[in-house]
Symmetry: none
Subunit: 245 residues, 2 copies
DNA sequence: CTGTAATCTTTATGA
DNA sequence: TCATAAAGATTACAG
């Protein structure tokens, strides 16, 4: 069907099993180049980056945050990000410290929310076939050249702003979003925290807050105290400072 | 865990095995409605249509054009089309009249060209879990905008300050540390960035920086420009502002 | 990612 | 008004 022009791909040099499999293949319809890759395991074109994960490794990489780090970077660097999930069988689910819900939750999220193309295979040989089919489609059928590509930065400005704010203590995505929506920029957020004061009862017990943050819900005196200490190095409190009745 | 509001989905009435599985489940966190569906097997929302295919059926439907017909119609009718591929194991590849290449070629095509989200499972129970997870995310957890970074276990105050600073663009641990050492608190760092100005050549090209950051190494006009935009929402530059020769 | 524990804010209640 | 308790929401952490 095809020309005898060989398909060319780049494989990360740590993928030794995959490399030796290609070495031992009879048909030399695919040539690979070993290289230390930072963001993908296999590169098929400048548009397509492939991550290969064995089932067991997929599950384990959920625990540390390796999995999403890798996949998000893959997505940032290639228009088409593909995850080849190899050997997802019963063994993968046995004797592991991760719930089935977590595994399939992650898999669903990756596939239909992150828009990373998941392709399951049952073993390494089949993985090689998938890679070959993709290379064939891209390089012969669609005639795209193989080139390295430079990393475009990926986080949107709004996301990055929330990202900075999440460095604060006792803050997660929810509160971070609320703060940016209200104050627009991180600097304004910090200024708002700076200018918020803790109000005390007559007996010097913390009661609430007063200032820019007071009309937002979810931010109390504990939050203000902790973060003022981190952000500005503020001392505990000036005794008998603000008294309300 | 979550709300006790039950998740609601619609299942095609011909999916008898799936229905009875849900009937027999202990937890009633998911309610389904039987209905004769034309284009999908399971509907989770107006946006999401799911097609469920057992491995053997998947392979067989390659020969006639049933599979692609179904999937294309699924894609036409739902913004998000999901294919749950159930039980793709070795048995599927034995004694069938379709080459492995064809199977994986089709699977790759569906996944990364057709942009249909493929989610593999190993059996019907796991398929049910996937459906449940998707319904859960769509109907309850729908409002999570961005992924969050995880802060290391226990952070000293100084480390936490560096961690906040690392949210800036073009900055890593080393520069973050340098900034904190010099300016002590994140707020002082942000103020320093705010008060640093970019100096331009006669021809209005950025040349360097002037202000609190100028005597630190590793911080140039690119850094200042990018982060002023992120932190304060500053505009590009006022033309003909500062000229040096 | 999920599920559970810990923490914080806010509302309710009684002194 | 203040203090405490209960309820609701969010974050932290482990798996």
């Amino acid at each position: 069907m095809s020309k005898n022009k060989p398909l060319k791909i780049i494989i990360d040099d740590r993928e030794t099993k995959l490399c030796s499999l290609f070495d031992n293949k009879e048909d030399k319809i695919l040539e690979y180049e070993k290289e230390r890759l930072n963001v993908a395991d296999i590169i098929v074109s400048n548009e397509i980056g492939i991550e290969r994960k064995e089932g067991f490794d997929f599950v384990n990489s959920l625990t540390d945050n390796r999995l999403f780090d890798q996949l998000l970077r893959l997505k940032d660097n290639y228009n088409i990000a593909i995850l080849i999930l190899e050997g997802l069988n019963q063994n993968v689910f046995d004797n592991i410290g991760v719930s089935i819900n977590s595994i399939y939750g992650a898999l669903s999220f990756i596939s239909y929310k992150l828009h990373i193309s998941v392709i399951p295979t049952i073993n390494l040989e089949h993985t090689a076939i998938v890679i070959e089919r993709i290379a064939y489609r891209e390089q012969i059928k669609d005639d795209l050249p193989l080139m390295r590509r430079v990393a475009p930065k990926a986080l949107s400005k709004k996301d990055r702003r929330s990202f900075i704010i999440e460095g604060l203590v006792d803050i997660g995505p929810k509160k971070a979003k609320a703060l940016i929506e209200r104050f627009k920029t991180p600097y304004q957020v910090f200024k708002a925290i700076k200018h918020t004061e803790i109000v005390y009862t007559r007996t010097n017990n913390p009661k609430g807050i007063q200032g820019p943050l007071e009309d937002l819900t979810g931010f109390g005196w504990k939050f203000v105290e902790k973060n003022q200490k981190i952000l500005f190095g503020k001392k505990k409190k000036s005794p008998q400072k603000k008294i309300i009745n």
